[in-house]
């Protein structure tokens, strides 16, 4: 440590030697002038170096050290590890970063911090301490390595510390059995239980006569792996009694009791049990220099038991026809049923009761061979445990809810339930007898008892209303679409009719063309009538009206005033020359007949027939 201190001093001296001497010379005006010229920055830099140099001078005597309250320990003993920083100046130190130690366990990684100032011959010394409490958890020679601590922004190291941990009862080089003045031990009642067997485990405190234990507190979270743990209620306050332990006199007190149930076979370890004690050393009470009130000798300490190894045996195999429920203890078993006569659908309770001392909480539900005509619903488990004394006692009840699905005579067969008796150290079997069951058809089905509404499930009798065939949506049938299209088609027809009507009323050309054929036929019919009556002139007038009218109506020509040549010239090119010629002859005859005597009736009728033929031809071209 001193070497470290010297190194720091050396470095500080070096820093001091860098100070510019000239800058401290008063009255050096031209130098001040230099400062004035080069600005205040250079001065401030020099001043900072000066101040830091002075501060470093104060740190010259900083020392750090580490110490342990004991260098020889028993397994499970606790000790204090103190890191102390001492300085003649101010101390700014953070707790050191504590490494993980294999052989020791921290009770807390947050240290208790203390500070002290002492003035001796006018010299002031300040010290800061960081104290950790550790518990030895591995025997052997161990070294707590140097610890890094930051003091006044400088990293410093403590010296390593050697600690020896010995097991309780170990023999030293002088042949003496080494035992601590106080220790805690885990004492299982059985060292070779079977899986599931209750192992009563006591937490026992051993201490010398001169030690007075005023209180104890078990460490939290003690849970052995692969064990089911049940806390046993203490019947009375712990009482100390004198005993001889490995040749030495101790006082012994049983503090706690646990019922442990191993869940695996093999070598299992009960981990160290932590215990926090408040003790007082009676020998110091007689010390006249001791604290008047004795409080100075009262202290808290943590002790740790040594781990304990158990050899857990597997449970002996069970006979093939027996049901294994993993029960261990001194147990009684029986099976009962809520009713032996039921109706279909009625709930029946099959109850298995297991009681006695043993691993009651861990017993499995027996799986019976239930007739398949029964439904099983939500089995229920009820445990009633008593944790007083040194054993777990109580009763466990498994209730199966069976609901028959069909009527008939059934039997729930007899079964053998197996359990291990630790007293006889062998498997034992309890036979639960078979249970006959009568299931009747449910009368309530036909005369149901629904609350307040009378009969519920009653079949329908008499003539049923039958529906046949697949339910096809109506739109998948063709006639639906026919019926749908029908009004639409009617609407189209109506629209067409209405359109024609409108055109008739408003379009003269259309009306003339539309009516041309009928008018012509009417005139030719008149002509035939006139011809028949021998009225030749009238007949030819009608023929002219028919043919000329038809052409003018079809071609939208004036209704009167056009000669035969005019009409023929308006005819489309399609009309052949023969027709034109015949038409011209007939129309000329009609025109000239007013000035000439009419021919015979036969001739007139012949012309009417020709007019008919010509009209038909014209209709082919003009309509």
């Amino acid at each position: 440590m001193r070497r470290i201190g010297n190194r720091i001093i050396g470095s500080m001296m070096t820093a001091s030697s860098l100070l510019p001497e000239r800058s401290l010379l008063p009255g050096n005006q031209h130098r001040w002038g230099f400062f004035e010229k080069s600005g205040a920055v250079w001065f401030l830099v020099v001043f900072w170096f000066f101040i830091s140099g002075v501060a470093n001078l104060y740190a010259q005597s900083v020392q750090v050290s580490a110490s342990a309250s004991a260098s020889d320990l028993f397994y499970g003993d606790s000790f204090r590890l103190t890191i102390e920083v001492t300085s003649t100046g101010s101390i700014e130190a953070d707790p050191p970063d504590m490494p993980d130690l294999v052989a020791f366990r921290y009770q807390s990684k947050i240290p208790s911090r203390g500070s002290r100032i002492s003035i001796v011959n006018g010299a002031t010394t300040r010290s800061v301490t960081f104290t950790y409490v550790l518990t030895a958890i591995r025997e052997g020679n161990h070294i707590i390595p140097p610890l890094d601590i930051n003091v006044n922004n400088q990293w410093m190291k403590t010296q390593p510390i050697s600690i020896r941990v010995v097991r309780q009862g170990a023999v030293n080089s002088q042949g003496e059995v080494q035992l601590p003045s106080i220790f805690v031990a885990l004492e299982p009642a059985v060292k070779d239980p079977v899986v599931g067997q209750q192992v009563l485990t006591e937490v026992v405190l051993y201490f010398k006569d001169q030690i007075e234990v005023t209180s104890f507190r078990p460490g939290s979270g003690w849970q052995p792996d692969s064990f089911w743990k049940e806390d046993l209620e203490s019947l009375e306050q712990p009482r100390a009694e004198s005993t001889i332990y490995k040749g030495q006199r101790y006082r012994k007190a049983t503090l706690l009791r646990y019922a442990l149930f191993p869940s695996l076979s093999g070598t299992l370890e009960l981990p160290p049990f932590p215990l926090t004690l408040t003790i007082r050393d009676r020998t110091s009470r007689n010390d006249p220099f001791g604290n008047f009130f004795g409080r100075a000798n009262s202290m808290n300490m943590e002790v740790l038991s040594e781990p304990v190894t158990l050899q857990v045996r597997p449970m002996p195999s069970v006979l093939e026809d027996a049901i294994e429920i993993y029960a261990v203890g001194t147990l009684q078993m029986n099976r009962s049923i809520s009713k032996t006569t039921a109706v279909v659908g009625e709930s029946i309770e099959l109850i298995t009761t297991i009681e006695g001392a043993g691993n009651i909480p861990l017993i499995n539900r027996p799986e019976y061979a239930i007739p398949e005509q029964f439904d099983m619903f939500n089995p229920r488990e009820i445990s009633n445990l008593e944790r007083k004394g040194t054993t777990i006692q109580g009763k466990k009840q498994f209730t199966e809810f069976l609901i028959p699905r069909a009527p008939g005579e059934f039997t729930i067969p007899a079964e053998r339930l197996a359990f291990y008796n630790p007293e006889t150290r062998e498997m034992q079997y309890v036979t639960v007898p078979s249970i006959p069951l009568t299931v009747r058809s449910a009368p309530s089905l036909l005369a149901g008892s629904e609350s307040g509404s009378g009969v519920a499930l009653r079949p329908v009798r008499g003539l049923a209303i039958w529906h046949y065939g697949e339910r096809v949506p109506v739109f998948r049938s063709w006639w639906f679409w026919v019926l749908t299209v029908l009004p639409l088609a009617s609407l189209v027809v109506a629209w067409r009719v209405r359109s024609v009507q409108d055109r008739f009323q408003n379009d003269r050309t259309y009306r003339r063309r539309h009516q041309a054929g009928k008018k012509a036929l009417r005139h030719l019919a008149d002509a035939r009538a006139f011809a028949g009556r021998g009225e030749g002139k009238e007949a030819y007038r009608s023929i002219e009206k028919g043919l000329a009218g038809y052409i003018s109506d079809q071609l939208n020509l004036p209704e009167a005033g056009l000669s035969a040549e005019d009409l023929l010239s308006k005819l489309p090119e399609l009309v052949d020359s023969e027709t034109r010629r015949a038409l011209k002859i007939l129309l000329d005859r009609c025109t000239s007949i007013g000035y000439a005597p009419p021919g015979t009736v036969e001739e007139t009728l012949s012309d009417v027939s020709e007019a008919d033929a010509l009209l038909k031809k014209l209709q082919g071209w003009l309509s």
């Binding site: 398949e372 028959p404 509404s453 209303i465 039958w466 339910r471 639906f480």
Partner: protein, 299 residues
Amino acid sequence: MLGCLFAIAGPVIAQQADFERATALLDKGEYPAAIAILDSIETAGYRSGALYINAGVAYSGINDQGMAKYYFLKAQLFEETEDAAAASLRYLEERFTHRSAILPELPWQRLLNFLSGIFGTNGLFWVALLFLYFASAGWAGYWFLQTHWIRYVSFASAGVMFVCLLLAVAIYGQYQRYDTGVMTGNQADVYAGPSRDSEQISTAYKGYVMQIDWATSNDLVTGNDLATGNDSATGLEQKVDEELGGNVEQGSIVEQRGNMEQGDHKQESGKWAYVRLQNGQQGWISVEELVWFDPLDVR
């Protein structure tokens, strides 16, 4: 004339005779045999509220409450057995180990169900057709008579026709997309996805009723039979019938049916349906434990 009468009434009389025979078996407590007969009637294509009521009673007799509920729900769709089915369902509900919370139906669903109950899909199509005639006649009348009130009547009729048509299509689409499913197995988990590795959302128990959404399901489920949404129970019961052979000793039916269902499970494994439970939760359920029907097909 007489021949025609026999041709029409003959099969109905035969079904009625079978139905009465099944009812007599029910009275004697011979439920499996009654189920076989009732199933044969349904397989022949006959539907009846009384048939479904008696099938429900028979299944309840063998304590298959899930199937019983399935048939009572079908019977409830027939006007003549609606009240009896509702009473039977109330009675049956008391026998289930678990009952689901039931959320009220969504408003649009309530409307569609109401209209479907009054008119049915076909009824709405018919009403739409009728108003199509009114609209067409009105419009044609307006063309010829040029009377304005006839045109307004025509417009109104066309509007009613379109509303009816839309409702009919909506109801039809609804029933095409959704089926009513009933849990017949004791218990099945509902998952967030169609896999048992998905997050579990809920658990459905025997007798739970749910709405199966085939439109969503068909994207993911395997198998063609599900895609068509066929009535699931018919095939199931056919197998029951085959197992029974029409004359099976009472007491053995449960075991046989159980075996048959296990066979179905193997066949159906890997098929999932997207469902909405009555408590409003939605998720995927394996169809192994479900039976379902399309209300449109039943009515």
